[in-house]
Symmetry: C2
Subunit: 194 residues, 2 copies
């Protein structure tokens, strides 16, 4: 089977950061219901009839098998829900022995990283910043700038996504704007049980 | 062990395309002795005391274990040996179930791809071109422009490199300049035995 799949050429649009061909996913606020700390703010925005796009993913998906790599781009729009900046849902990989590589393309981001045992890290990502997410670290990307945040990623195609742990327990840190400044603060509702 | 390794931040210099921190390798013509078709041209350049740098690799190497990804940048300088453009040695991965992702950063390149059974493909790579090299395909990058060619790459850290098959058998295609044009031609010395 090994060479049954031909090499692929994919085009990255250098102004829109869209990959062609790719599978696209738009995550709106409704899809992130329960992910932002300020659930009241989420509810009232949705109640008012708004449902802003928080982020977009353009992904070139390979067979979910050992040996393949998925690749894609993510665009996180600028904005806040309450005091918390727009961000991705965040996930652990279902398969522990898998990792991820990010390359910052545009904008100003922070990556929240978290181990299953509650250790956390926070790394900045702008254009030209490369982040290596080793096995075992959950990851969430936050747009802390006024413009869109865009980055390129690759990870093992058989890694799988565990969004549930994040939805249940949250991340231990939140990235918020307070007194006009970006701050990484403890999440009072984070559950440390593994 | 899984979270023993902390997430890493690496800086990509957007003018030099060097990664910091990284392990750097400079491949000079002497290191590519036997890889270019025109062995006489290689010999006479080396005999004259010259030994030009053909390409440079800046790599962030992880433990050679399942689950990790290596990442890096490659810069192929412009030039020719005889009629053949400067290129990387090219390799298969020692572990068949592994792949590679390229993202073109600058310059004008061609990627020669080849299966173990002799099938071949050739894809163009400039800034914003993403190439997916699926399992089983050997790959070599050729600079067909007048300026340097630079690209970003990731692959499974346990993939390993098989340069020997390429050194012994060559690639089935050569990328040459003839009559002032870039041409992909058959390699008369390619051995099709697997």
């Amino acid at each position: 089977m090994e060479t049954a799949m031909k090499p692929q050429h994919i085009s990255l649009d250098l102004s829109k950061w869209v990959l062609l061909p790719s599978t696209s996913t738009k995550r709106k606020l409704r899809d992130l219901n329960g992910f932002f700390a300020d659930t009241q703010a989420t509810k009232s925005i949705l109640k008012s009839g708004q449902d802003p796009i928080i982020y977009e993913v353009y992904e070139c998906l390979q067979p979910q098998e050992v040996g393949h790599l998925n690749l894609g781009t993510t665009i996180v729009h600028p904005g806040k829900i309450g005091e918390e900046f727009y961000m991705t849902k965040g996930h652990f990989h279902a398969k522990e022995a898998s990792s991820e590589v990010y390359l910052g393309l545009e904008g100003e981001g922070l990556i929240l990283l978290q181990s299953r045992t509650g250790n956390s890290e926070c790394l900045a990502m702008s254009q030209g910043d490369v982040i290596y997410v080793p096995p075992g670290w959950g990851h969430r990307t936050v747009n802390v700038g006024a413009e869109r945040l865009a980055f390129f990623f690759t990870y093992q195609a058989d890694a799988g996504h565990d969004y549930e742990s994040v939805q249940k327990r949250g991340f231990s840190k939140l990235v918020v704007e307070r007194h006009g400044r970006v701050q990484v603060v403890g999440n009072p509702r984070f559950m440390t049980k593994t």
